[in-house]
Structure formats: C-alpha cells, structure tokens
C-alpha cells in the first residue's frame, strides 16, 4: 500500500504567560488512548484552533510532503528523531552549564510538529496535495503555514494511517533560544515571512 507523508514543524515565539503552550500541552496530554474518527477530528480541530491563534508569532518553520516509497520511512524518521531527542534533552535540562545557556538568551521559542501518514490516492491524500501545491515563492510564509495547519481538520481520518503531534520543550518553564533553533540540528528551519 502506497502512502503519503505530510509533516509540518513550526517555531513559535512564545512567552511564559502565553496560553498557547499550556493549551497545547493539555490537549495532547488529555487525548484519549483510543480515538474514533470523530474523536480524531475533534482533537485536530482543537490543535489547529490553538495554533491558528498563534500564526502571527510563527517565526521559523519547515514542511514537507512526500509521496510514494519514502513516505512511511519519512514518518518513522521524523517521529523517531523527535522522540529520540527526549533523553538527550532531559540530560541537558538538568546540567548546570546548560541552565546557563538556556536562561541566557530569551527562552521564548517553542517547536510544534504535526505528522501524518495517509493512504495514497485517497481524498485525504488529494486534499494534502492540493493544499501543498503552493507557488514556490510562498513556501515559507506564515500564511502558508497557517493554511497548511488549517487543512488538518479537513482530512478524512478514515484514510489516515498514523498521526503524531509534538511540543518541545514540554516544561511550561522552559523554552528554546534563537541560538538553540539556529543550531543543534534545527539548521533546516526557514525564516517565515
């Protein structure tokens, strides 16, 4: 079965007092372990609504649509890399030197990642294809990222094989500095216009 991968990652300028992070955190942490199609749509509607409020604060990002043989591998790659970073990040958070580094610059960025693996040729696949078919000059705009995220609740989840959402850092007290997102494996991120 051929599949299509869609992934979108966005760096959001966020302040400790902003509601974005706690809202996302709650939506993710309270999501049921088993979801019906209606549950799934409701879940993604909530995520998209929270992110939609933050579109003006999107600073950097990256998205990709991969069809064919590499799709499932791409999903595995994104999810395993993000989940795999957990141990390293935990160690860093406790290290004194890193405390200095993180506190140093403003801890004002969070990274949100949404991943989907859909059956190729289905209406979900076509919806993604149409929404991702943007002029190259608009690949890296907040507007495009907002539109792509708004597409998610429109998917027919009967055709969605797998999906994932990640919010980093997880602690409400922490955040990434601009230095963090310019290095440490995030070099691929694009400045959003």
């Amino acid at each position: 079965m051929s599949k299509t991968f869609f992934g979108i990652q966005v760096v959001v300028r966020n302040f400790i007092t902003d509601p974005l992070r706690p809202q996302l955190h709650e939506i993710i942490a309270r999501s049921p372990g088993e979801q019906s199609l209606a549950d799934k749509r409701a879940f993604w509607k909530r995520v998209a609504a929270v992110l939609n409020e933050a579109v003006p604060a999107f600073e950097m990002g990256y998205w990709d649509l991969v069809r064919g043989d590499g799709a499932e591998e791409e999903f595995e790659s994104w999810s395993s890399e993000i989940e795999g970073s957990l141990a390293t990040e935990k160690e860093e958070l406790g290290a004194a030197a890193d405390e200095v580094s993180r506190i140093s610059a403003e801890k004002r960025y969070i990274v949100v990642t949404l991943l989907f693996l859909v059956e190729a040729g289905t209406n979900s696949d076509r919806t993604l294809g149409e929404r991702c078919d943007v002029p190259k000059s608009e690949y890296w705009t907040r507007l495009t990222f907002g539109r792509l995220i708004a597409t998610v609740p429109l998917l027919n989840f009967a055709n969605v094989v797998a999906d994932a959402v990640y919010l980093a850092p997880g602690s409400n007290e922490d955040g990434f500095s601009m230095e963090d997102v310019h290095g440490g494996g995030y070099e691929y991120l694009k400045l959003l216009l």
Partner: protein
C-alpha cells in the same frame, strides 16, 4: 465481505509528557495492516513530489531566484545577529575602545583565554539567582561565528582613580555595617562600564547578577562592547569574589542604562536596544527580598528608567520597598584646611565623609548599624532626596507590554524597538540584505546561504 472498521480505530502508540517533550503518536491498525492495496483507488492526480524544502528542492529554488523575489521585513536585531553574525551588515567596520588596555584588573592577560567562557565564569554562584542572570552579551563571545569579535575585544579600564570601584566599596561598607542583610537587593542602573566597576567594588559581599540582553554591533546604538570590555577588565575580581563570598549574599542586579539609548539615525546606528528583565515582585518575595535600593547616576535621575516603571510600581504594590540613591551621594572626603586634594581618593562615603557615612541607614531606615563605641553619624547636607523616592505609575512606551499580565521575564519590546529592516528571499527564507541607510539601500547579508 468487508469487515466493519472498529469504533475507535486509532490506538495511541506513544504518549510523552516530560520536561523536554510533550507528544503523542497514533496508528490506525486496520489501515496499517491492510493487505488489499489493489482495491484502493490510485491517485487521480499525477504523483508529483512536492518539495516542501528538501535539500534538492531548495537548491533548485535558489537557482531560480530573481531580484523581484525579495521582500523587506522588520526583524528583531538580536535574532538577526544570531543568524547573520554579531556585526550583521557591517563586517568591515571596527569597534572603537576608548579607555582600552591590554591588561585586566590583576595586571594579567588571562582575559584572552576567558573570552569563550565568560557566560559561565560570571554566572551567579547561588542557584536561586541563576534564573535572573541574562548573559546574552557574554554569550556573543562564545559563538563560533564571533571570531572577529573575539579578536577585536579589549579590556576597558575604569576611569582614572577608580572612583566607580570605590563607590561600589562604599555601598559594600554600608551593608557590612548592618551585617549584609539578605532581605535587601541593590539595582545598579548606570552606564555599562560604570555599573560593572561599581559591581566589582561590591562583589566581595554582594552576588552580581548581570542583566545584559544584547550583542555588540559596530554601529550599535548601545555601546555594549564597552560594557563587555569592562567586564573583561574586572573579571578576575568577580571570579575571586564568587569563591570567597559568604552565602547567602544579597543580590546586586547590574543593568546598562544605555539599553534605552536614543536611537535617531538608521543611517549610522544599529538598533541593539533592549529592555531590562528584572525578577518580578513574586520572584523577589520568593528570594526573601523586602527592600530594593535603585542606584542611578545623579540627583537628576532619581526615578527609574521607563522600562522599569511597571516593575517598580508592582514591587511597591507587593510591599517591597523601593528607594533610590544616586551614585553621586557617595563622594570622597573633602580635603581639610590647606591640605592639597588627593589625586586619587582612597575611599568614598555616603555624604562625603566617614562621619556622615552611616547616616545612610538613618535616612533609608531599613536596618540599624551597631555603632559599638563609634560616634553617632552626622546628617550630610549634600545628598539627594532618594530616601523619599517612591515609584509612581507613568505612561511610557513600555507600559503594559507584557502578555498575560506578568512582568519581568517575558517582557515584550514595544513595536519598532530593537528591530532592524532586512531584505529576505520569499523563496528560500534567507536574508539577502540588511538596511544600511535611509536611502533604502540594503547591504548584502553576512554571507550565509540558506537551503
């Protein structure tokens, strides 16, 4: 016969709820295990690989960029420097160091080896104060792209006679007279090199918490390279004091008053201004702070700078007493009789003499020194009305600039403050030029390419 899908087809495979990451991943097992791909309809549209930024895709896009592809945007100055280099847009312009010296306060050159470790060398020793340390300026020296900054840097010596250090020692002696109370914090809001020198004088008894939140730039409206140079000069004093200081020590928050310097000319200035991020009233109360002494340059500057007004009013509302003292209230003894004035005074005192020094506590009232046989202090005649100062809310461009009603960490800059015009490619998101003048011309960016 087709098997009906389960009511809840999505099963969560992973749930992470940690400090580093929050996340969840689901699979729809019925689709994952499907063994009948033939019955599925093929895509109607051609299976075009949409390159949302893969390396190959961006390489192609970059090759097709036209000048009309650029767009002018405003960008946070610090973010721009972190992205394009500390001297963004002006890589050939040198920093100027009036008062530079080759040697630090110990007369050595260990500062050369300390350039990359300044942020950790000067971090507060007390963990409770670490969250309020803002070493952004020090970190400018540590990044790989700042090799030219490291080679440009020089220690900046204090003014002749070391008056600023001596004034710091005078503040220290006032607090030593009341046994270094941990419930009183000092905020130095002076021009950068002066603030650093005063902090160096106080360092044996106070824990310096530097709050320098920008990077230097050759055209910076805030001459923060001079502050950085002063820190390099006094670094041995700070490092030595940290290991010798009794704990807990009261904090001295060290600010550069030039952070709000007047920005007038985009032709000749780079807007590296920033706002001070002091601990909130709640933070200070948690630290046990009940009194705050705000040290300003002179009698004409008794009130706090605009970006601190909201914070100071909030402190007062939280019953944390805020009083002000200009640095000029600390003075050297006047020569008596016909004696020639000393070229370099040995000590400074509140009110200008040892007999008025401890009157500070009579004026400020927070603590009472034990005189232990010494004569009672005399009221000075030439000091400010700082003890009577109380912060009052006033409209500023920084008023209510916080999200969610908090203050301190998370404080927002007002629009247009600390921002720079840049030209960027719509296609690649890379910066192609940085505004260098009112003429609208854009210099090329620092040479990085994206994609």
């Amino acid at each position: 016969m087709t098997e009906a899908p389960p009511d809840r087809p999505f099963t969560r495979q992973v749930l992470i709820d940690g400090d580093a990451l929050v996340g969840a991943r689901w699979w729809q097992e019925s689709l994952r295990l499907s063994a009948d791909p033939i019955s599925r309809r093929r895509a109607l549209k051609g299976l075009v690989l949409v390159l949302g930024g893969s390396a190959a895709g961006v390489g192609l896009v970059a090759a097709l960029i036209r000048s009309g592809d650029d767009v002018d945007v405003s960008m946070d100055a610090l973010d721009l420097q972190k992205r394009e280099g500390w001297n963004a847009g002006h890589p050939g312009t040198a920093l100027r160091f009036p008062g530079a010296t080759l040697f630090d306060a110990d007369g050595g050159r260990s500062w050369v080896d300390a350039l990359g470790t300044l942020a950790s060398d000067l971090a507060p020793g007390q963990a409770s104060l670490s969250p309020f340390y803002v070493p952004t300026l020090f970190q400018a020296l540590g990044v790989a792209s700042s090799a030219s900054l490291r080679s440009d840097m020089m220690p900046v010596a204090p003014r002749a006679g070391g008056a600023d250090v001596l004034r710091g020692k005078a503040i220290l002696s006032l607090f030593e007279a009341v046994k270094m109370p941990a419930d009183t914090a000092v905020i130095l809001d002076l021009d950068g090199p002066t603030a650093v020198a005063v902090a160096a004088g106080m360092a044996p008894g106070f824990e310096p918490v530097f709050i320098f939140d920008n990077w230097p730039h050759p055209l910076g409206v805030v001459p923060s390279h001079l502050t950085l140079g002063a820190v390099l000069y006094h670094r041995p004093t700070f490092v030595r004091a940290r290991s010798a200081r009794a704990v807990p020590a009261p904090p001295v928050f060290v600010l550069d008053r030039n952070r709000l310097a007047r920005y007038t000319d985009e032709d000749t200035q780079f807007d590296n201004r920033y706002v001070a991020r002091l601990p909130t009233a709640e933070n200070l109360r948690a630290l046990g702070i009940r009194h705050t002494l705000y040290v300003s340059p002179s009698k004409s500057d008794l009130h706090e700078l605009d970006d601190l007004n909201d914070d100071f009013v909030a402190l007062a509302a939280a019953s944390i007493d805020v009083k002000s003292m200009p640095l000029t209230d600390l003075d050297a003894s006047a020569p008596s009789g016909d004696a020639a004035p000393a070229r370099s005074p040995a000590a400074f005192y509140y009110g200008g003499g040892p007999h008025t020094h401890l009157w500070f506590w009579s004026s400020y009232g927070w603590h009472t020194p034990a005189l232990a046989g010494r004569p009672a202090p005399v009221a000075p005649s030439n000091v400010s009305a700082g003890p009577a100062y109380r912060p009052a809310l006033r409209p500023t461009i920084f008023s209510s600039r916080t999200l969610g009603g908090g203050s301190g960490i998370g404080k927002q800059k007002p629009s247009g403050f600390g921002r720079v015009s840049v030209r960027a490619s719509r296609s690649t998101g890379t910066i192609t030029g940085i505004r260098s003048g009112r003429s609208g011309s854009f210099g090329r960016a620092g040479g990085r390419s994206g994609g």
